[in-house]
């Protein structure tokens, strides 16, 4: 890691990762569903950018493929799919969370702190893109919070996808040369299939409950 460009690469990665975190926080407070989908697409674009930077500075050709797949899958295809579904079932745009924006913001601040605390002992290693581990963990935690805080089935899918973004951030930024290609392809395939299966379920739930409110899914107990 003694190339002169590495310094810039590291800074760029940190910058983009921070951008992902900001978008995540916007997702937490933004009440409109379609805007949420766009924010997710933008966050994925930053992820693809990070992958491209890592690939450029490490001469790792495999990681370029990751960047391209992210753009195709998470920036174009999935947002389009979700968008279409929102329009097709004509759901109300408001997201209707349990906790409002100010309280959510506070909680997410605390989760960010927690992310840094968890990553601290590991961060001391001081290798390329280490700051990103903390951000990845934060994306994970806030993603879970999003999932709990929202009632609509489709927004839970979106929250799951941001969790996935956090995981992939760690994968791209930490491992320097990326994961073996077969694994990357497998993960990509899984995410795509998962969203499609979730889409089918959302549609069925909507049909049989006349609503997408998952807090109505409460018949099974004990």
């Amino acid at each position: 890691m003694n190339l002169p460009g590495t310094q810039i690469g590291e800074q760029l990665i940190t910058l983009f990762a921070a951008g992902m975190l900001v978008l995540q926080l916007l997702l937490v407070v933004q009440p409109m569903l379609l805007t949420n989908i766009r924010l997710f697409a933008l966050q994925s674009l930053l992820l693809a950018g990070i992958a491209a930077i890592v690939a450029w500075f490490n001469n790792a050709t495999d990681v370029y493929i990751v960047a391209v797949l992210t753009v195709i899958g998470k920036v174009i295809f999935l947002p389009w799919l979700l968008d279409r579904q929102v329009r097709r079932i004509r759901i109300v745009q408001e997201i209707d969370p349990f906790l409002g924006a100010p309280a959510s913001m506070l909680i997410c601040g605390a989760l960010t702190l927690l992310g840094y605390v968890v990553a601290r002992p590991v961060t001391l290693l001081g290798r390329l893109g280490n700051n990103t581990l903390a951000i990845a963990i934060t994306l994970l935690l806030t993603g879970f919070y999003l999932m709990i805080n929202r009632r609509k089935a489709l927004t839970q899918v979106l929250a799951l996808l941001t969790v996935e973004n956090g995981v992939m951030l760690a994968a791209v930024a930490l491992t320097t040369y990326g994961m073996p290609l077969v694994v990357e392809l497998g993960i990509f395939f899984d995410v795509m299939v998962a969203v499609m299966v979730l889409g089918i379920l959302v549609y069925r739930i909507r049909e049989s409950f006349d609503s997408m409110d998952t807090s109505k899914l409460s018949k099974l107990r004990g």
Partner: protein, 497 residues
């Protein structure tokens, strides 16, 4: 080559089922495919017990004793379920509760589900193992929602959401494991995620990141295994899924999830010493046993009881991994074996009762043993076997695990372990005795004598006979080469091989 055939067979069956319309052929195709899988799994078991390791596709697929053992278990459960499914769904069809499209969905997705379950133990790369584990969720969720009831969608939603969250944590843990290995392996990324490569250098991993990684992995794969407190999807999914699917999940897939934990446990123990991961495993395991017990005691629904029993057994397996040592490892392997060959019987009996009486509540069912003598009798026997009563195999494995706990210096865990197991036993016995014994009760409108009632269950009894045969004979006698395989598997779990 055998490894590739083993994986291609169910995949091909799944694809073929897309184009086949006749019910008889769907059934036959599933039966043939799973019998083939069983035969191939058996062959792999023999090969591995002789050659120790076989691999295929440039090292992408690799089977050592532990993988072969899990493959055999999954194949056995798959065969039993495919036989049971024939009779089960024919009854459903006669009752008019399912359509032809649903039937095709079942027979098409089940081989796919089995394919992913077989890929989990056969993948050498921890990343591919993860992909396969996530694949099991995706392949099986539409089976959980099979009946298209409101409650099935609720169960399916919980299943996929909780499962996906858990599994994304596992991926995070996998990546951090890889990260801690990069320190050692440098740029060798092509095989850098392969377990067989990692295990040799695990002692040089970065310790702080390995610690973090193991926690994530345990929570992740623990969610799929159904450990407390990530178990909440299990009762719903097991209750709502059709019986053969529930049995595949409860007796087959559970081994894959525990397998994932065991693989990472070897790495963590090599890197950090057995203390760190051992304590976590014992904690989660004992907590699962203790939480499952009161839910079984107070349960009103027998399908859900089976889910809590499965949580209990997942806890026992994981605790056994945590106690470690030679005894703990062997106990874990034996427990997986006996649980895998016994549990399907519970599901099958419960399925018969549910189909005959039209309910899954304990209090609505009385005197099974008089209405359906074979089902009632086997249900009682399976209850004793699953709760670990001698002379059945689960008693031996639980006894070994208990000795392992005492040998490893965990007297408190051992005490709680016994308390939980005894409470589960008591709960099961009370419920099952009430339901199976007692006076005769007919389903309204159906006053046929017992003998003719039983004939409607021919296929089901075939499957139950198969499982009973294995469950009882293996309890008394483990064939030499097979025991050899088990010992090798235990050696891998214990990290001595």
């Amino acid at each position: 080559m055998t490894l590739i055939f083993l994986l291609v067979l169910p995949l091909a069956a799944s694809l073929l089922c897309l184009v086949i319309r006749s019910r008889a052929w769907l059934e036959r195709l599933n039966l043939i495919a799973f019998s083939g899988v069983m035969a191939l799994a058996f062959k792999i078991g023999m090969d591995v017990s002789r050659d120790r390791v076989i691999s295929a596709m440039n090292g992408l697929l690799r089977a050592d004793a532990l993988s072969a053992f899990v493959v055999c278990l999954v194949a056995f459960v798959a065969v039993a379920c495919s036989i049971y499914a024939v009779g089960y769904f024919r009854r459903d069809e006669r009752a008019g509760t399912i359509s032809g499209a649903q039937l095709r969905r079942y027979y098409g997705l089940t081989p796919l589900f089995v394919f992913t379950m077989l890929l989990v133990p056969l993948a050498d790369s921890l990343g591919v193992m993860w992909v396969a584990t996530e694949g099991t969720t995706l392949a099986s969720v539409l089976l959980v929602t099979f009946y298209n009831r409101k409650t099935s969608f609720e169960a399916g939603w919980k299943y996929i959401i909780i499962g996906s969250v858990g599994i994304s944590l596992a991926l995070f843990g996998t990546i951090i494991t890889y990260y801690s290995a990069v320190v050692v392996l440098g740029q060798e990324t092509h095989h850098g995620m392969n377990w067989s490569e990692l295990v040799g250098v695990a002692h040089r991993f970065d310790k702080s990141s390995m610690r973090l990684a193991f926690v994530f992995v345990l929570v992740g794969y623990g969610t799929k295994a159904g450990l407390v407190p990530m178990h909440t999807w299990k009762p719903d999914a097991y209750e709502q899924a059709p019986v053969p699917t529930a049995a595949l999940l409860g007796a087959g897939f559970i081994n894959c999830a525990v397998y994932g934990i065991a693989r990472f446990n070897v790495l963590a123990a090599k890197c950090l010493g057995p203390e760190f991961s051992g304590k976590l495993l014992v904690g989660f395991g004992v907590a699962s046993i203790l939480v499952a017990a009161p839910f079984i005691l107070a349960q009103r629904n027998f399908r859900r009881t089976l889910a809590y029993s499965s949580i209990d057994h997942a806890g026992i397996m994981v605790a056994a991994l945590g106690f470690g040592g030679k005894l703990g490892a062997l106990g874990a392997v034996l427990h997986m074996l006996f649980h895998g060959v016994t549990k399907p019987l519970m599901f099958f009996c419960a399925g018969n009762v549910q189909q005959h009486f039209g309910t899954s509540y304990f209090w609505k069912v009385r005197g099974v043993i008089q209405t359906l003598p074979w089902t009632g009798g086997l249900f009682l026997m399976a209850t004793l076997a699953v709760t670990g009563t001698p002379p059945f195999g689960l008693f031996q494995s639980e006894f070994k695990i208990l000795s392992a706990a005492l040998a490893a210096g965990h007297p408190w865990a051992a005490f709680l372990f016994i308390a939980g197991v005894v409470a589960v036993f008591a709960g099961f016995l009370v419920h099952m005795a009430k339901m199976n014994l007692g006076s005769k009760q007919f389903v309204s409108g159906e006053m046929a004598p017992a003998a003719s009632l039983e004939t409607g269950f021919r296929w089901q009894y075939g499957a139950m006979a198969l499982v009973t045969m294995f469950a009882t004979s293996l309890s008394f006698w483990l064939p030499g080469p097979f025991y050899n395989l088990l010992e090798q598997a235990a050696g891998i779990i214990g990290g001595t091989q």
